[in-house]
Symmetry: C2
Subunit: 342 residues, 2 copies
């Protein structure tokens, strides 16, 4: 999809320029000062899909009408902000969750622990790199070229999104019983609902557009997360870039785990419980747990939920009072977010 490649190229260019300016000014304070910027830049530029910016751009387009110019330039800083925000969240989360890899390379705390020869120092400096990325994200949002009122609304949406993500990550760390609420807050917020709100507000959406976009975004966010959960357990390691059984070994509370708790007896669940949260579970046991989720109908149950949410999102999109170009692009995203294989 050509429009998405353009979003990616423009956002990449803006990020490269912004982070290179940051690097230059930190480097004036000495080599150590630039380490943090390097960490932020390294992870940000290693990321590829720029899905969240695409959501912003498509929504911005959707609410403005077909005669509006097809120009994403005004949204670029907010798009870049979302990517830098994600860098911040990934750096902090990877340390919290003990994930050693990210985007085909070592996670930031892992690389820094190696650099400084200390796990604690690596973690501490990674948290600082995340803190710096967070300040960058705010700078980019606050400096976006929109009139005061619209920008103020966007800033509010940006802040709500962050509050939700942080609370969602907390619930995730605690192994929250309510997996849907946790996922709604942790992932749905800044992947789908937040970028949709930002694009709509920056584009000057009318109230009826906002409410129909919410009817689209809420189920889309859930479908995205269900897809993510399915990939985390059944995905092909060669396309996902994560080891097989990653979510199971990490003990992640996914929709699959929630469905297994709901639908299987403790006895039936035994092969699953044997690997859940066991970082050292062997391949055969992981395989057995994965097979159980398949044969017991748990996978099918989650696939059915996903299909229902995807359908709801599609229907809401069809009915939304938005531009046809915007509708096409949001449809592209609906497909990409819910049918992706990595």
């Amino acid at each position: 999809m050509r429009w998405m490649s353009e979003v990616r190229a423009r956002v990449d260019a803006r990020l490269a320029q912004y982070l290179s300016d940051k690097h230059a000014s930190a480097a004036q304070l000495g080599e150590d000062a630039a380490v943090l910027v390097d960490a932020v830049r390294g992870l940000t530029m290693r990321g590829g899909k720029r899905l969240r910016p695409a959501v912003i751009v498509a929504t911005y387009d959707a609410v403005r009408g077909d005669d509006a110019p097809d120009d994403l330039t005004p949204t670029l800083d907010v798009c870049a902000a979302l990517e830098v925000l994600q860098t911040y969240l990934l750096i902090h989360d990877d340390w919290m969750d003990g994930d050693a890899e990210r985007r085909g390379g070592p996670s930031v705390h892992t690389a820094l622990a190696e650099r400084y020869g200390s796990a604690h120092l690596g973690a501490a400096v990674a948290v600082l790199a995340g803190d710096l990325a967070s300040a960058y994200a705010w700078e980019l949002v606050c400096g976006a070229p929109f009139p005061e009122g619209r920008l103020g609304d966007a800033i509010t949406a940006f802040r709500v999104m962050q509050e939700e993500v942080v609370i969602g990550q907390h619930l995730d760390l605690l192994g929250a019983a309510d997996v849907s609420l946790m996922q709604h807050l942790k992932t749905g917020s800044y992947t789908v609902r937040g970028p949709l709100a930002l694009g709509a507000l920056l584009g000057g959406a009318r109230a009826e557009q906002v409410s129909s976009l919410n009817r689209f975004g809420d189920p889309l966010g859930v479908a995205f997360q269900l897809r993510d959960d399915l990939l985390g357990t059944f995905g092909d390691p060669r396309t996902t870039g994560k080891p097989a059984g990653n979510d199971l070994r990490a003990g992640k509370r996914t929709a699959l785990v929630a469905a297994a708790e709901r639908l299987l007896s403790p006895g039936e669940r035994a092969p699953l419980d044997a690997v859940l949260g066991r970082a050292d579970a062997n391949a055969a046991d992981v395989e057995a747990a994965t097979r159980l989720l398949e044969t017991s109908g748990i996978r099918a149950d989650v696939e059915t939920q996903l299909a229902a949410h995807r359908r709801a999102a599609r229907e809401a999109l069809a009915a939304a009072p938005i531009s046809s170009r915007g509708r096409e692009r949001l449809t592209d995203l609906l497909v990409l977010l819910t049918e992706r294989d990595h």
Copy 2:
């Protein structure tokens, strides 16, 4: 000083109201969701002096002229932002530095590790609480009731301050050779230079006011930090609230350590090196190191540096083209920041 008590009371009230609103909305998501807000609120409201808000208010006053109304109301949100920013920085730093106590109670990561029965979970949730406080600080600054241009400048100052603090903390963690640069970035930025810049920008300072306030703030920031270093080693535990020899045991790179490296031979420094960074150093050894810093003239050297910076700040203040009420208040702060005993 009555004006400072008023600042404290007004800022306390604003913080109490803001954080209670945050608590109420998080509590709607369940008890776990409110834990983070509790952590932020607990530490914020336990803090007392509200020195940074006082710097903002005095500077805001100073640049507006004597006929301007003596009303701090417009600055309240930015004042509250600084306090919440400090909460965020303290939470993250205390975990990084392994400090178990803060403001007369357990540090946030310590309390949370206890709550969850896990050091890692305590640290992770503390980092999240800090992340949340950071988002709050931005919300408060971005929502402050000032015209777009002034507020934009204040937001820039707020962001620069954070970048400096984060880079300064990184240099501190690495045990940076250049102690002055580290302190300039880590503490000077958000204690003195940042709040001064915020007050000046919000008050609509003229260029000549900004430059003379910088000539005041730069040496004041250094003097404040030197006082902090002296208190961290020679302060009375009953007034500082920190155990004797705290900085020495923590291996903190202070102006005292830097002066000892500059002025003493390795042999002379032996009693100091024996406790520096040794959390388990006994009281007699800490006492010997402290005595060495006294008898070898290191303490006197740092006191002399402090006096010189205090004098420079005082002279810059006397010459600054500002209101007399502002000058009086900034003088109060100069005394408080550089002659305090806790």
